[in-house]
Amino acid sequence: MKTIEMDREEQQRRLLQEYIFDLEDIKEKAEEITIAHEKLKQSQDLVMAVLGSTTHGICLIRNRTFVWCNKAFTDILGWELEEIIGKTTEMIHPHIGEDEKSNIIYDASHNNKLIMHEYDLAHKDGSHVTCLVTGRLFDVKDPSRGHVLSITDFSERKRMEEELRKHRNHLEEMVKERTAKLQTANERLHMEINERRHVERALKESENWYRTIFENTGTATVILDENTTIILANDEYERLSGYTRDELESKRSWTEFVVKEDLNRMMESHKQRRIDKKDAPKSYEFRFRDREGHIKNIFLTIDMIPGTKRSVASLLDITERKKAEDALRESEERFSKAFRASPTPTIISTIADGHYLAVNEQWCQMMGYSRDELIDHAAYELSIWAYPEERNALINNYAERGFCRDELIHLRTKSGEIKDVLCSAEIISHKGENVILSLFHDITERRRMEEERQALQERLYRAEKMEALGTLAGGVAHDLNNVLGVLVGYSELLLLKMDEASPIRRYVIDIMKSGERAAAIVQDLLTLARRGVQAEAVVNLNTTIMDYQKTPDFKKLFSLHPKVQIKTSFETDLLNIMGSPVHLSKTIMNLVSNAAEAMPNGGTLNIATRNQYLDRPVQGYDHIREGDYVILSVSDTGEGISTPDMNHIFEPFYTKKVMGRSGTGLGLSVVWGTVKDHNGYINVQSQEGKGSTFTLHFPVTREEIARDRISVPVSEYMGHGEFILVVDDVEGQRELATRMLMELNYRAANVSSGEEALEYLKDHKADLIVLDMIMDPGMDGLDTYKRISEIHPKQKAIIVSGFSETDRVKKAQMLGAGAYVQKPYIMEKIGLAVRRELDS
């Protein structure tokens, strides 16, 4: 109960507090209003007092109607207050209050300016009062609140002014008259006094005075009479002319000292000066002739002596200065001419920030800018320095030595091309300021040509190297081939003869396989030697790649590199090329296996083909001629090839691989040889760590692919007891061929040279001769065949060789020899060739 009461009391106290504060607040505001009101009233009273006592008539008009006016207003116009208030403004003036542009109210409301006009306002008595009327908006923000007009009675003042002026004029005239008279008298008096004094002084001082000035000027000075006689001359003039004073004064005319060409001009001035000295030049240059006849350049200053017809002239010998000036001007002209006409791009620029002060035409041409685009612009504004640090280096150079010679710098032309330029520069003085004179020598073209020449040389060198290596490899291959022929051939024969269950059969198989592998290497060498590739079949690379992808080799390769991902992109209508399918397949295989091996940690291997027409030669690793090409590219994302390695990658046995672990060291050499045999080109792009791309260009053929040859069954090439003579200088080969032929049901004999063959055939007849092309010593295959033909015209023969000596083989074939069979001997190959030749 008590608590509730307490709460109520507390509540009441709180409310009371608010009331009290409210009350206080209201009271305070009321007081403020009272004070403000008081102030306003005071101010109003003041305004009214001012308005009432002023002699300016003031009124307030709204909608062309008088709302209020002061006493002066009614006084000026003669109206009573009641007669004006509520009336329109027309009663005092027809133009006040109209909405015309010329009218005062209009101006006031539109410009909010104090407008002043002079109007004749209507007085109550019908007369006019000239008033100065000003008008202004009562409230600028609200024109509807009307205008305040102020009128000032002007008529009285005007009249007063008029009278005053008249009065004043009269007075002034009188004063003027008197003053003028006085002044004239005064002036006359002054003049008389002055003249007398002047003459006196002149008489007294002139002689001494002039002499003093004369002798002390330091320049040759003369006083001349109107008739050009020299009246006075000073020491300096004596020295200049070569005459003594006595010889000069009153005896000689100055005209004697003037060269003929300058005389007329000077006589004109001489006369003119005496008519009006303002029209004659005060100074000029002329050529002076002294007593000895020496010509001197003289700068002459001349003036009249006041009040006389005499003149005083000072002569300054400027011969030396003129010479120096001429020399300087000539030198400047020469420089300027040389600068402009120089075939060397030349500029003058400031040291501090490289502003161009002068540039010649050659510089403009070199940089592609016009002169206007350069002058007064700084090199950095135009980004002319390709490497601004080069400029800093040059500036340091100047600072140290004052010049630089043939520094290689790089400049950017307007078109953005970077030029290699040799710069020679020197600090010279130009208009009193140190600036840089720079001469440039554009060596961009020379460098480019040099680089091109070097690239060409490198390519040539590479080609020659490959050629030389090829010859070497070819020689080795030939000898090895003969050796291998025996190995492979006999092991094949052995297997034929051997019992199927023989325990040593697998050794023979191993021998044969090793032999075959060796033969494959030899085949590579031959490819490299480029004697053995017959690019005669029509091939489509898409097919070749797809065939290769089906081979066990391919599958094996990617089981060894499981992390390598293969992507292929084939051009659907890939054109055909002329080529050797076997070698092309090998080329693809080599490139793919290289690519896979370049990515031991996995990556993407891309095989792509496309047709491409090159309309101009391409400079790359190879120089590729224009034409239609089928492009084969194999790329990897592997280790890449270092620049030094790049020059050797196609060389045989230049391998980065561990010898024996994979490859023969001939992979890329074979690729190179194959491409060259196909009249194709190779391009290699590689970046270390990023991968390599091999791009092969093969010229296209428009021939269609021939139908696949159906493999021939053995029965097709079995012999029917015909007699064959084998001619070969290598015993093993000879024996092998003989045995193979006998195996195929031929009768066979052999001889070891061409000479022996001839001897043998004198009394024997052979159905066919198997003739080795290269035999040493003695006759080779061609010569042998020629001689045999003499004994047995139309003698049938086939030619065998380790590699194709095409020229000689073709000659033999033209004489009648048949097919050419490449070693090593394989029974099917030789059997088929023999059979066909016999049946032909």
């Binding site: 009391e9 507390e10 106290r13 709180r14 507090q17 608010e18 009290i20 504060f21 206080e24």
Partner: protein, 123 residues
């Protein structure tokens, strides 16, 4: 002592704003807090020369505010004038025990309040 800064603590907006206006007109710098926690915060941050403190406040009442300020070395010297509608003698005692320098009971006119402030200025 010189008084320039006054902290007015009252949750009744008409009262606090009236006091603020009146004191400001007289040239004082006036801070207003509408609850107890704010009052303590401002007492520390603004360092008023005197505090007019209502007792019934949200968050923390005036008694507690006073106790805290008087317990701290930096604020204990600031005079605290309690201005409350609680006018029972035990309530007044409670306020004074909490450390208030003066206990004023609402309602009070502004001149009376000013008089109290002036009294401190003269000390």
């Amino acid at each position: 002592m010189e008084i320039q800064k006054i902290l007015v603590v009252d949750d009744d907006k008409p009262i606090s704003s009236y006091l603020q206006r009146k004191f400001a007109k007289l040239g004082y710098t006036v801070y207003v807090a509408e609850d107890g926690e704010e009052a303590v915060k401002q007492a520390f941050s603004n360092r008023p020369d005197i505090i007019l403190l209502d007792v019934k406040l949200p968050k923390m009442n005036g008694i507690e505010v006073c106790k805290q300020l008087k317990a701290d070395e930096t604020t204990k010297s600031i005079p605290v004038l309690m201005l409350s509608a609680k006018a029972q003698s035990f309530e007044i005692n409670e306020g004074l025990e909490a450390g208030a320098d003066k206990y004023l009971c609402k309602p009070m006119s502004f001149p009376d309040i000013l008089g109290e402030i002036r009294a401190y200025e003269r000390k």
